[in-house]
């Protein structure tokens, strides 16, 4: 029992990271029906921005995260404007291929500029300590990741639920033509969505740096795919679904590597994907029935 709780505690921080990344996938899909395969790579860029902010600018981890979020918000807006907007009225497959292109571009541009090797996340920025609480070993890095991720999710929930921008985002994703008739600028709203989603991914990138201690130009691929699975699991386009999906995948993965074999860690997420596509393609929170018209 003690060990199970310990595993769950370990899984929570990983789940929080997946949830943050999954949110970006789901928000973008909700508004332009595109699986943004470059999203994991935006997370990677965020990790590097955080890394350089700590090593070159000497900032602490919180400031590094904020800088990474700001840079990637801008990056997300640029990617949408340059790569996706011109294709908005073309076929889905065209945008999907473009997304994969953007993904490869970010990965290999980073390799070209910084080299393929991993960089050790400086532990001066974050000294890992373990605390013994009620027989559980709690690492401060897990607490940091979990608390900041949940904090960001609360901020996001607030934005989406209560601000004018958030309501406009929901309106555009529900019916973009009706939203236009309200005077909502669809372009601006889509840009905002990319900015927010990319900022969350950047924060997740810095968290991955803290969590694993090292970063590299291809680090976005696997977590990106797993977060995608999390978004599909929760029901793509549904924000609370992405959060729950992220935690489920994180916890499952930790349990599998804790009790079974860590080699199956990656297989389990993709097993979940196959299962959900077979059993309930709309995801845990998805409705199969249409709305009343």
């Amino acid at each position: 029992m003690q060990e199970l709780i310990q595993q769950l505690v370990n899984g929570l921080s990983l789940g929080a990271i997946y949830a943050l990344i999954a949110l970006g996938y789901t928000m973008v899909y909700g508004i332009i029906k595109l699986i943004n395969f470059a999203h994991g790579d935006v997370m990677m860029v965020g990790a590097f921005v955080g890394f350089f902010s700590i090593t070159l600018l000497g900032t602490n981890i919180a400031v590094a995260m904020l800088i990474a979020m700001a840079v990637c918000a801008l990056l997300g807006v640029i990617i949408e404007k340059v790569a996706y907007r011109p294709l908005r009225n073309s076929t889905r497959i065209a945008s999907l291929i473009t997304a994969i292109g953007v993904s490869l571009l970010l990965e290999y541009l980073t390799i070209f500029l910084l080299g393929p090797n991993q960089k050790i996340f400086p532990d001066t920025a974050f000294t890992v300590k373990a605390y013994d609480i009620a027989g559980l070993s709690i690492l401060n890095k897990d607490v940091f990741v979990f608390v900041s991720a949940v904090g960001l999710m609360l901020v996001l929930q607030y934005i989406i639920k209560y601000t004018k921008t958030g309501k406009a985002m929901r309106a555009v994703s529900l019916d973009n033509e009706a939203a236009i008739l309200m005077g909502i600028s669809v372009d601006k709203t889509i840009s905002t969505t990319f900015a927010i989603g990319s900022a969350l991914a950047a924060a997740a990138g810095v968290m991955v740096g803290v969590y694993y201690g090292a970063i590299n130009p291809l680090m976005g691929i696997i977590p990106g795919l797993k977060a995608f699975v999390a978004a599909v699991l929760g029901g793509i386009g549904i924000i609370p679904g992405a959060m729950v999906g992220g935690f489920v995948i994180g916890l499952l993965e930790t349990l599998v590597s804790g009790y079974g074999n860590s080699l199956y860690r990656d297989a389990v997420s993709f097993g979940v994907l196959i299962l959900i596509l077979l059993v309930k393609p709309t995801g845990l929170f998805g409705k199969d029935t249409g709305e009343k018209v």
């Binding site: 004018k164 529900l174 019916d175 009706a178 236009i180 008739l181 005077g183 018209v293």
Partner: protein, 234 residues
Amino acid sequence: MLQIKDIDVYYGSIHALKKLYLEVEQGSIVTLIGANGAGKTTTLNTISGILRPRNGTIMYKGTDITKVAPEKIVGLGISQVAEGRRVFSTMTVVENLEMGGYLRRDKKAIQTDMEMVYSRFPRLQERRKQLAGTLSGGEQQMLAIGRALMAQPELMLMDEPSMGLAPLLVKEIFSIIKDINERGTTILLVEQNANMALSIAHKAFVIETGEIVLQGTAEQLLKSEDVKKAYLRC
């Protein structure tokens, strides 16, 4: 107030509006009637800026709005109650109304207007926390009208507001439209229910396959044999 001159609108190679003209005088109710697929919705969406005419001009209060962006057109005072109501289904009634006033900054006046919408549609007030998708068809139509009113329109475009509603509700909606007009909003009303539309309109245009084939005062059209044959079956 609104002059449409000889616009041609295409969907790809489909020529949906052919040299269409239309005029709406300030303060009036003008109705555009026509059968399924005649081009009524296309006309309204072109005025709203969602579709662009290939030729021709649309003048509104003396300025050319043919190439103005749709969100700017709302700001100029033209709002549309779209066909099929198009409420934001998983947003609450209040949120829908807020979206109607999206371009406005005057918080107090927005609040006053929301009270005005509630006094006009008490059902909406009772259900203000409810998701719009769970409202009945009639309530959704009221919400769609209320939402458009939140933009303080000078010209309101209404696309088949009576569609799919029970006769009693249709009557109610039409009396609301008349009332909105009497309080100073000009209305361009698209309808298939020609009887009802002509009973509240001042002027009317008849559209067939993208062309205006008849126009006149509502009385003239009510008497016209052509209109009777084609549109006043009931």
